[in-house]
Amino acid sequence: MMPAVPARLLTDGLLSPPVISRGLSGESEALREQSRQIRLHLWQSISVRDTVDLALADLEKARRDASSANWDGEGARAIDPAAYAAAKRFILTLPSTALAPSVSVDRDGEVDLAWDFDRDQVFSISISGTRRLAYAGILGQERHSGSAQFIDEIPASVSNLLSAYFARRR
């Protein structure tokens, strides 16, 4: 079940990350339905579907490859099922215009999503079983790193950085 997503155009031309409504009123219900329709429309566009499909397929491959301990021959932990679930949820809540990340498993069992464009433009997020996000990136002369908690929405600190990295590609 896809989350309801109201699309909101940002100043840089990118769509906002999903905002989950928790309202109970009739108006909230109507808004939620509108959001669902918008999301459905976006979902049917080839580019959005391809991005998510590619990322989910990469996630499944990563899970298969790292399904047991020592999958790398150097003592790596098996993929953490909770991290896998959190990463899947994260991918489904990526901004609608996001580029597909490359998905792999860290040696500590967390799931890594990477947008590795070149030496000077790389961003990566590790997702733990407790939904902690550890992110870092290099964007030209700028360097970014931090941590955040992923609940239902991608934290603004992360989505803003993603927008900046993607904007450089367009």
Partner: protein
């Protein structure tokens, strides 16, 4: 894990005809800034073939039971022929480590320099170990995961990719 690798290398040497150490090991000089060190690559997720570069996944450190700390294992390449480097890479990866795709290499000086250009302080020490043969321990990685990730990116940025044909 490092013990098992050392054991594998020991038995391999016996099978090659005696436990006499290879000439290059017997005369290993101490690490200096020009000594080339490598990470062996067993996954295409660790490099970009089109762009001809290693990425941060090639320099992902991990917890070492003997060191009781997170470290990055590398191997020094000085004085070795290409076939000997490839053989060492296959030995390091071992039977469960997957196919050897190639390596990402850096002079030891580059490792110790980073990330002084960004935080105005030296971070890493590259320590040459006798066991396993040619092993180099790069440490400390005592920061949070997000900073470790950033430093892996720093190392990848200045690394040279060498893929097998």
């Amino acid at each position: 894990m490092r013990f098992l690798r050392a054991l594998a290398i020991f038995f391999r040497r016996i099978l090659r005809g005696g436990d006499r150490p290879p000439a290059d090991q017997a005369t290993d000089p101490p690490l200096d800034g020009c000594t080339l060190c490598a990470r062996f690559l067993n996954s295409e997720k660790k490099y970009n073939k089109v762009q001809g570069r290693a990425n941060y996944k090639a320099f992902e450190p991990s917890y070492d039971d003997e060191e009781k700390a997170i470290v990055l294992s590398m191997y020094r390449l000085d004085g070795m022929t290409e076939p000997a480097i490839v053989e060492m890479g296959r030995t390091v990866l071992g039977p469960k480590g997957g196919r050897l795709h190639g390596r990402a290499e850096l002079p030891a000086g580059e490792i110790e320099k980073l990330p002084s250009d960004v935080v105005a302080a030296k971070k890493f020490r590259a320590r040459f170990d006798k066991t396993p043969v040619r092993h180099v321990t790069v440490s400390p990685w005592d920061d949070g995961k997000e900073i470790r990730k950033l430093h892996s990116m720093d190392l990848a940025k200045v690394a040279t990719l060498r893929l097998l044909d």
